[in-house]
């Protein structure tokens, strides 16, 4: 039929085949597994595999298979598959004491999708927490920390700027309370106005105002503008999101959901994980790095004095390294982990000793250049800052105490002036170098975070839910199919075929782009299926109308599709706008629902217009028609 060109048949065929292929992996249910992975750089090899298998045999736990999985980004691991969840639980408990602290044994799910399907990128839809169970954490970014870091940074920057512009000053220091900005004390009102101009032009994010002046002390106050602070906290959230993703990927959890929630919260959902302590080890260790000037190591008398008497100089911190050796480091931070772009381990070109090559972003580079220019031959320290939150129940109420630990992980002499790229040498071994590189790369959070909420959700709710949801989808679908076939006869049947393919393609798209299926998502699918038939109702009603107006069957089909298309487009675009808003602005269940609706509207436009048209054209092709079954 000339109405329907050959290339469109081809398109429909290709889409249907691809849709079926990519929807297929959902039929293969994953089997419970225990994943054994190394905590540090402990080897994951055949020896470990033997050990795991021997331990399971000794505990008389039947397992299906045990394979070493090589993964460049997540590191190697051993995956042991089990027939059911009970065996999985017992096995993890049996393995933990055998493996010791160097390895983690975590629950995981092993895909049973055949190799050829995975090879073309086929994977099942990840199931949301409500369907599968798992662990959920809500983390709050510490806004005080964001303000602290920024004010310290501006304090240093302003001092450097005034030096640069040769404006004499008495002191540049942070205000007594957080959020009060930087106080600059100058000698004269002339200096003050010069400084005020210089700061205002150089740092447009600061509000500069004159403070009180007494005799020869002229105070200037620079406060960070509220919108800049807002921008900083949103970028801190973004950076933290990326870091958390890296870290959780390293844990090997299948399909983690890590998303920003509101202004300063990040929610982390690890579906399938049942042990929150295990997950907290990784994400709870909210670590960040700081580059600071070194003021002395254990040989230094000042350090020995500080350790002995507890008299720490006001501008310094007393920290220890992993071996317990004391160091004094400056309070002023040169650069932090969030300014780090890349880190890799290697060997020093001059003496071949292990080293870490670090690349900073431009802001970090500028500060590093300034610092090293003035401090060649002096030491610099890398401090690892870790935050954990202790939760205790006191008088029936949960009391959370954040605990921060500092550790000097590197203390070395600055050999020359450098900016964005530099090398850290003086490391003990190649292993230490690669560990440091990993820490640097994955361990930087722009601002510290606290876990404010955690919860485990059992899978029993999930199985219950998923069965009911599936039943509802199938029942809703078959009822709509039946109603359409009765009401529109042959055209209804064609619409039914299209509706079925709509479900297939919808599932295929959701699987391919990895949309996590949640209960609201299932509701979205049902709604989409109910509404997808609308386009066919429009077409069928149009065809009926054309027939009543005396058109020939073929002309009625043509006019029906043509005239209905404009309406379908307008109606669906408005609906699409609604779905888009839900997807981009909603969070949690609203987002899950919006994404499903969005994809569903797009696929239903294709199936209910193009696919039905192809089938209709195929049925009526080359026939002399007197009537239409509509």
């Amino acid at each position: 039929m000339s109405d329907f060109p050959r290339w469109r048949y081809f398109l429909v065929a290709v889409v249907l085949v691809l849709g079926t292929l990519y929807a297929l992996p959902n039929l293969y249910l994953p089997k419970p597994a225990v994943q054994v992975s190394a905590n540090h750089n402990a080897p994951v090899d055949q020896g470990l595999q033997q050990k795991v298998m021997a331990a399971l045999q000794a505990a008389k736990i039947p397992y299906l298979d045990a394979n070493i999985k090589h993964d460049v980004s997540r590191g190697d691991s051993i995956l042991v598959g089990f027939a059911n969840q009970d065996q999985q639980k017992v096995a993890a408990d049996a393995l933990k004491p055998v493996l010791g602290d160097d390895y983690t044994a975590a629950f995981n799910l092993q895909s049973t999708v055949p190799g050829w399907l995975s090879a073309i990128g086929g994977r099942p839809m990840p199931l949301g927490l409500d369907l599968q169970g798992g662990v959920r954490f809500l983390m709050a970014v510490d806004q005080n920390d964001v303000v602290d870091k920024q004010e310290i940074r501006y304090t240093q920057d302003i001092a450097a700027l005034l030096k640069d512009k040769k404006i004499p000053f008495i002191s540049v220091a942070r205000g007594p309370t957080r959020g009060n900005g930087v106080n600059i004390v100058l000698n004269s009102s002339v200096d003050r106005s010069a400084a005020s101009d210089a700061i205002a032009t150089e740092y447009t994010d600061l509000n500069v105002t004159d403070g009180a002046s007494t005799g020869n002390r002229f105070v200037l106050n620079a406060v960070i503008k509220p919108n800049k602070l807002h921008e900083l906290s949103t970028s801190a959230i973004r950076q933290n999101l990326a870091t958390l993703s890296n870290r959780i990927n390293a844990l090997g959890v299948s399909e983690p959901v890590i998303q920003a929630q509101g202004e300063d919260h990040i929610s982390v959902e690890l579906a399938g994980v049942q042990d929150p302590a295990e997950a907290k080890k990784v994400i709870g260790a909210t670590a960040t790095l700081e580059y600071v000037a070194g003021l002395g190591d254990a040989r230094d008398p000042a350090v020995q004095d500080a350790v002995k008497t507890g008299n720490i100089p006001p501008d310094a911190h007393l920290y220890y390294n992993r071996q317990g050796a004391p160091f004094l480091v400056s309070k002023n931070i040169i650069a932090t982990g969030d300014e780090l772009v890349d880190a890799s381990s290697g060997n020093d070109s001059q003496n071949g000793s292990p080293s870490v090559n670090v690349t900073l972003n431009s802001a970090g580079a500028a500060k590093m250049l300034d610092f090293t220019r003035d401090n060649v031959g002096k030491p610099m320290a890398v401090v690892y800052v870790e935050r954990t939150t202790d939760t205790k129940i006191v008088d029936g109420k949960e009391v959370r105490t954040p605990k921060t630990t500092y550790q000097v992980i590197n203390y070395a002499t600055i050999n020359g002036v450098f900016s964005n790229k530099f090398q850290t040498t003086g490391l003990g071994s190649a292993k230490e170098a690669s560990e440091l590189a990993l820490l640097l790369k994955g361990g930087s959070l722009a601002a510290s975070m606290d876990i404010v909420q955690e919860g485990v959700i059992g899978p029993s709710l999930g199985q219950d839910n998923i069965a009911k949801g599936l039943k509802a989808v199938l029942l809703g679908l078959s009822l709509v199919l039946l109603a359409a076939a009765i009401y529109y006869k042959l055209f209804g049947l064609v619409a039914d075929v299209a509706l079925f393919f709509n479900l297939v393609i919808l599932v295929a798209v959701m699987s391919a782009i990895g949309v996590t299926l949640t209960m609201p998502g299932i509701a979205g699918i049902v709604l989409t299926l109910g509404m997808a038939i609308d386009a066919n109702v429009l077409i069928c009603e149009r065809v009926r109308e054309e027939l009543r107006n005396g058109s020939t069957p073929l002309a009625a089909i043509r006019a029906g599709y043509e005239k209905a298309w404009a309406t379908i487009l307008d109606a669906n675009v408005t609906h699409l706008i609604a779905a888009l808003a839900l997807t981009t602005m909603g969070s949690g269940p609203i987002k899950g629902f919006g994404v499903t609706l969005l994809i569903g509207i797009l696929t239903s436009m294709f199936t209910s217009v193009t696919v039905t048209h192809a089938i209709t054209a195929l049925i009526h092709h080359g026939r002399k028609l007197k009537t239409l079954s509509v």
Partner: protein, 321 residues
């Protein structure tokens, strides 16, 4: 098969004073309901109490749920924690005097957990309360503002789209009807005091999508008939548009309702709120597509010349100042 006579010619526009009157009445009633009774916000929005219970022997989530229902603790979220012997129960205690401490306004955790224990032990004597906690509403606050922002954006962008594709009056009529649909839907939820949680919020937003879809189909026909008709008597054309799209309007809402009813009866408790809200919204949206949207359009003074495609090479237009 045809349920509706294809040459139906009900004079819907003739009823406009009555239908708009009822619509305004319903809106006012909804506003009054929302103002006085408010919505019965769920845990997501208000926060509540979380109690963890342990059993000596395995128990199913369903049994815990029914025990709570019998004990008078309604709308609790019950989830199994870890194994099969521990459950987490989250619910919003009724703001009963009984639960409120003398000095403060916060509910008394001990009293509440005692009640939970009583309810659980009525059916299973091995139930014990392991811990009790408040769940803060803070996250709910954030999500609520997200939902409101989403709704506002939906309204603005849909309005803009209709303005561009149709005409200003269509955008206004659609948005006014939309406001009516959302308000009345919320009014019904408030009337029956159904728990308003996030899935219900999602479905209110979905109602916006559904009902605008419905209106656009009628508007599309109005535009088409205006363009093809010679006379362009607005009232007659609007009436004809409603009549000729009537069977589609009703069939589509019937089909969508069938799917939603399946979800309501078989989808499990976690989608009840979604399905019932959708059903209410579909009913309200369908009725307003027929009885409310077009009368507004007529009052706004839509006419044939507003909808004619703009022809650029019109010498008449070119000569005008």
């Amino acid at each position: 098969m045809e349920i509706f006579s294809h040459n139906s010619n009900v004079h819907f526009l003739g009823l406009r004073k009555v239908s708009i009157g009822i619509a305004i009445l319903l809106m006012l009633a909804s506003i009054a309901l929302l103002a006085t009774r408010s919505l019965n916000y769920g845990l997501d929005f208000t926060g509540g109490v979380q109690v963890e219970a342990t059993y000596d022997n395995p128990i199913s989530v369903e049994d815990v749920r029914s025990a709570l229902d019998k004990g008078g603790i309604e709308n609790a979220t019950v989830q199994s924690v870890g194994g099969t012997r521990q459950v987490s129960i989250r619910f919003q205690p009724k703001d009963d005097k009984h639960y409120t401490l003398q000095e403060g306004s916060s509910p008394n955790l001990d009293l509440i957990s005692n009640d939970v224990a009583k309810a659980l032990q009525a059916t299973r004597s091995d139930a014990k309360i392991a811990s009790k906690n408040y769940v803060g509403p803070q996250v709910g606050e954030q999500l609520r503002s997200d939902g409101v922002t989403a709704a506002i954006f939906v309204i603005i962008f849909i309005g803009l789209y209709l303005w561009v594709r149709f005409e200003r009056r269509f955008a206004i009529a659609a948005l006014l009807t939309e406001a009516h649909d959302v308000l009345v839907t919320l009014g019904v939820i408030s009337l029956v005091q159904r728990e308003f949680d996030l899935t219900v919020l999602a479905s209110v937003l979905a109602v916006i999508g559904y009902s605008i879809n419905d209106k656009v189909v009628v508007f599309d026909r109005i535009r088409e008939l205006f363009r093809s008709s010679r006379k362009g008597d607005a009232e007659e054309i609007l009436n004809r548009s409603i009549n000729s799209t009537l069977s589609r309007t009703i069939i589509t809402s019937l089909f969508t309702s069938i799917a939603m009813a399946a979800l309501y009866f078989f989808g499990g408790p976690s989608v009840h709120g979604f399905a019932i809200t959708m059903l209410i919204g579909i009913l309200v949206g369908t009725l307003s597509s027929i009885f409310v949207a077009s009368p507004i359009l007529l009052w706004l003074g839509v006419s044939k010349k507003d909808l004619m495609p703009v022809t650029k090479e019109n010498p008449e237009l070119a000569r005008r100042p």
